[in-house]
Amino acid sequence: MSEYVRAVLLGVREALAGRLTEPIQAVTSNERGRGVPVLDSEKCLGCGLCARSCPPAAIKMRVSGKRVVGGREVPKQEPFFDYHSCIYCGMCADVCPAKAIRMVKASPLDAVQGALPQLLVIPLPPQVTTFLLILIAVALVYWVSGRLAPRGSHSQTAREPFSGGVPLTAARLRYYAADLMTFALFLLLAEALCLLLLLAGGESFPFGVLLVAALVIFLQGLILLRR
């Protein structure tokens, strides 16, 4: 018994202890780590010590312009960092005699241009709108077919589409197959058209246009069902 009590107490304590999960913004920042090496070209001497000390040999010295040494112009070399090979150890910053490399507290992803795919966010039209749209479409279909259903002797409007005006009892639900088929096809058509419009248009189709399109479909349906 006591173990259950202990377990329950542990659960309560954990529940009150606050959550371990950090919000996404906190998780993706890089405050404490060593960061990314960044060159300050002004201070760089072009000595190449960083390239020689780099453990994965991710620094290559490249010629980048000229500088004057002893009255003559000589090509100036500068380190070029390959951020995909860099292990972010900070040796280059430590050994640089001119302190031209500093470790910036950014994440390696920020250092690499175009690391993220270009296909980023294309937001969908919100689910709520889509849902309401289809709901209204189905309700309209339902109502319209109720209006159009054959009137029976017992009521002015049909309670169920296609039941011929006969009151609904479990024993006597009869569906007229042909009308059911028409209904089903026409509903499918309506849904399919809505979906196609959503897929094709995405956010560029405002809600109103989609609603109008749905109404047009139903009007066509009305014409189809007119007998």
Partner: protein
């Protein structure tokens, strides 16, 4: 059609982890991304045991000669549409082992890579960031929360 290869699946990406011969640093950071603090599952991301269920292949470690073939096989087994993320400096380019004799190189020598996340090891937050961007989380706000 929404742009991008993942279509609607990006709201619940299933991830398969492939350790291609690394030191385990990036593997442990990847597994740490699934643990409570980073919690990839809030984005609908799930670790799956089979590549046939996966949308995203996360490769860690430099590709050694013995796993090269397995990597290609696993990649081929994944159904379309699929993404490959090279997690860690070694998977991006071979890293500090690039000139070792049993290493082929980075993951892009064997399979086409969509996203490269450098870092030694790459931080779990970076994986969360990439997957969050793919999911559609804007800079403010948390998406599904």
């Amino acid at each position: 059609m929404p742009a991008g290869p993942l279509g609607y699946r990006r709201r619940s990406l299933w991830v398969y982890h492939f350790n291609s011969g690394g030191c385990n640093g990036c593997d442990i950071e990847f597994v740490a991304a699934l643990t409570p603090r980073y919690d990839l599952e809030r984005l609908g991301v799930q670790l799956v045991p089979s590549p046939r269920h996966a949308d995203v292949l996360v490769v860690t470690g430099p590709i050694t000669r013995m796993v090269m073939d397995a990597l290609r096989t696993v990649y081929d087994q994944m159904p379309e549409p699929k993404l490959v993320i090279a997690f860690g400096t070694c998977a991006c380019s071979g890293g500090i082992f690039a000139d070792c004799y049993n290493i082929v190189g980075g993951a892009d020598k064997v399979v086409p890579v969509n996203v490269k996340i450098p870092g030694c090891p790459a931080r779990p937050g970076m994986l969360v960031k990439v997957l969050a961007k793919l999911y559609g989380v804007r800079e403010r706000g948390q998406g599904a929360g």
